[in-house]
């Protein structure tokens, strides 16, 4: 497998690149931490009676769950008229690229998890009555998990390249 392939395997779930490099315990630890972080985030901002919780925050996501017609103007499709190029880039990154940052398996698992009744058992609030601050903290957790997975993928790439360089060196030259 190429270095890029090992690095991009993190798109499936966090830590897979490290596991493929033989660092199983490290990969497993990264998977557990980042998955827990993402699921905590999704738990704090689950699907309410309508709309789609965290999954609807950036409007049409891969599941097309956005249905909140009472959202402020700038959060609706009509708000596109006011959108500049930087807004467009951010929107594209957070709608279409974010599932790959956080890991597709985790993204799908989070979507199934936030619809389950376990979330209701864990949360001290009813779904429709979660304070905005709690929702925002949840979004921060979920987004952080995605950004940290980017760093993990970069680290896997770095490790893979270093291994190839060390393997290509003549014997005895590695210490210098």
């Amino acid at each position: 497998m190429t270095e890029l392939g090992i690095s991009l395997s993190g798109v499936l779930f966090p830590g897979l690149g490290h596991m493929l490099l033989g660092l199983r315990r490290r990969g497993m630890a990264l998977f557990l931490v980042l998955t827990a972080m993402f699921l905590v985030g999704v738990t704090l901002h689950p699907d309410a009676d309508r709309g789609g919780g965290f999954y609807a925050k950036y409007k049409k996501n891969v599941f097309h769950t956005y249905e909140d017609y009472t959202a402020p103007f700038q959060q609706t499709d009509r708000g596109r008229d006011l959108e500049g190029p930087i807004d467009t880039i951010w929107r594209l990154v957070f709608i279409y690229l974010y599932p790959f940052f956080v890991g597709l398996v985790n993204y799908l698992a989070g979507f199934l998890w936030q619809g389950s009744h376990y979330v209701d058992a864990l949360l001290p609030y009813r779904r429709a009555e979660i304070p905005v601050a709690v929702k925002d903290i949840g979004d921060c957790f979920a987004l952080l998990a995605g950004l940290l997975n980017l760093l993990v993928m970069l680290d896997a790439y770095d490790l893979a390249v270093n291994r190839r360089t060390l393997a290509a060196m003549p014997k005895g030259a590695q210490a210098s």
Partner: protein, 65 residues
């Protein structure tokens, strides 16, 4: 309105997770990872508290009498 306890718990959890990931990808020997986690957490959490204290103190220090 949410309590200070919940906010602090969320902050500590986030700092802990970030420092753990940073320690795991730091390239250190596994035996040094706990130390990396502690140092990373201390710097991050301490920095945030310091920043919060400065933000709170600024209006008091520069209050016009």
């Amino acid at each position: 309105m949410i309590g200070i306890g919940f906010t602090l718990a969320a902050l500590v959890t986030a700092c802990l997770c970030i420092s753990l990931v940073y320690a795991l990808i730091s390239g250190q020997h596994p035996s040094r990872i706990p130390r990396e986690v502690v140092v990373g957490f201390g710097l991050m959490f301490g920095g945030i508290l310091l920043l919060a204290a400065v933000v709170e103190l600024l209006p008091i220090l520069f209050r016009s009498s």
